[in-house]
């Protein structure tokens, strides 16, 4: 039995994702968030290891918007400059593919390391 359906990765040529992009997508996976919330969430998720600057964050957001992975989300109480973003269906699908890919690698690594230790 195959551990991981490799043919699914052919659906997107953008995998594997960079760590900042993966964390941004994970941040948006739960609910729509605006820029500052994403920054803090990314920092929290990575235990302070990944701290994005606004330049890096909005470079990634621009690219994700262009590729239709995320979209703008209009909040009712949004003030000027506080634009929220959320994942699109395509973004969610690609995130799931990346998670599956990582699961496959960690499972494979665990198996190989366990075999070596015997």
């Amino acid at each position: 039995m195959a551990l991981y359906d490799m043919s699914r990765t052919a659906m997107t040529s953008d995998l594997p994702l960079t760590e900042p992009v993966l964390l941004i997508l994970l941040s948006l996976a739960g609910q729509p968030q605006h820029g500052y919330s994403i920054l803090k969430d990314v920092e929290r998720m990575s235990n302070g290891r990944v701290v994005l600057s606004t330049g890096t964050l909005y470079g990634a957001i621009r690219r994700l918007l262009d590729d239709d992975w995320i979209e703008r989300f209009d909040e009712e109480d949004a003030s000027r400059g506080r634009q929220a973003y959320r994942l699109t269906q395509q973004g969610r699908r690609n995130l799931q593919l990346e998670i599956d890919r990582m699961k496959h690698i960690t499972r494979l690594a665990s198996l190989r390391v366990a075999l070596k230790e015997r």
Partner: protein
């Protein structure tokens, strides 16, 4: 700091600024309020990170405008990537350009040395004439190499796209 941030935002292309400048400024104001309670060192690190992020981001956006939508901020990481065997030989192209630059610099230096030497023998022509005779063939040679490499790469790429290699694999399996 806010004034510097505003100035650095002007490094971005106008279209990008129009779309994101207000948001980036609002996020930066939140960050600034957040780091105000922190120590001086943490504040300095944050400011440096923001400045470098803006400069890097602006360069990336200009690069994207210049090279196309796939350049700029990368979504894809470099780790664990299965590379296609049929790629344009970027390293070779860079090396050839470096060699060309090296040859041009060496010729220029030689010319300068030749000009600085006293010409005691009136029968000998100055060396800079050699420069004009040597450079065009070298450039021509490199252009021919580039063209040959490009044609070869295009043929290989076209064969790959046509699926000929798969037919060869199939016939091998049938045997």
């Amino acid at each position: 700091m806010l004034a510097i941030y505003r100035q650095l935002l002007r490094l971005y292309p106008p279209a990008y600024r129009q779309q994101f400048a207000d948001e980036m400024l609002a996020v930066f104001l939140d960050i600034r309020a957040d780091i105000a309670k922190k120590r001086f060192f943490a504040q300095t690190v944050c400011v440096v990170r923001e400045i470098l992020g803006l400069i890097g981001g602006a360069c990336g956006e200009h690069l994207r405008c210049f090279l196309g939508p796939d350049s700029g901020f990368p979504l894809r990481g470099r780790s664990f990537v299965m590379r296609n065997g049929f790629r344009f030989p970027n390293t070779t192209a860079v090396l050839m350009v470096l060699i060309l630059c090296g040859v041009a610099v060496a010729i220029k230096k030689g010319e300068e040395i030749a000009m600085s030497l006293p010409h005691v023998n009136p029968g000998v022509e100055p060396i800079h004439l050699v420069h004009s005779a040597l450079l065009p063939p070298v450039v021509l040679l490199l252009i021919v190499f580039y063209a040959a490499g490009l044609v070869g790469w295009t043929i290989l790429f076209a064969l790959r796209r046509s699926g000929v290699h798969r037919l060869a694999q199939l016939s091998g399996e049938q045997k």
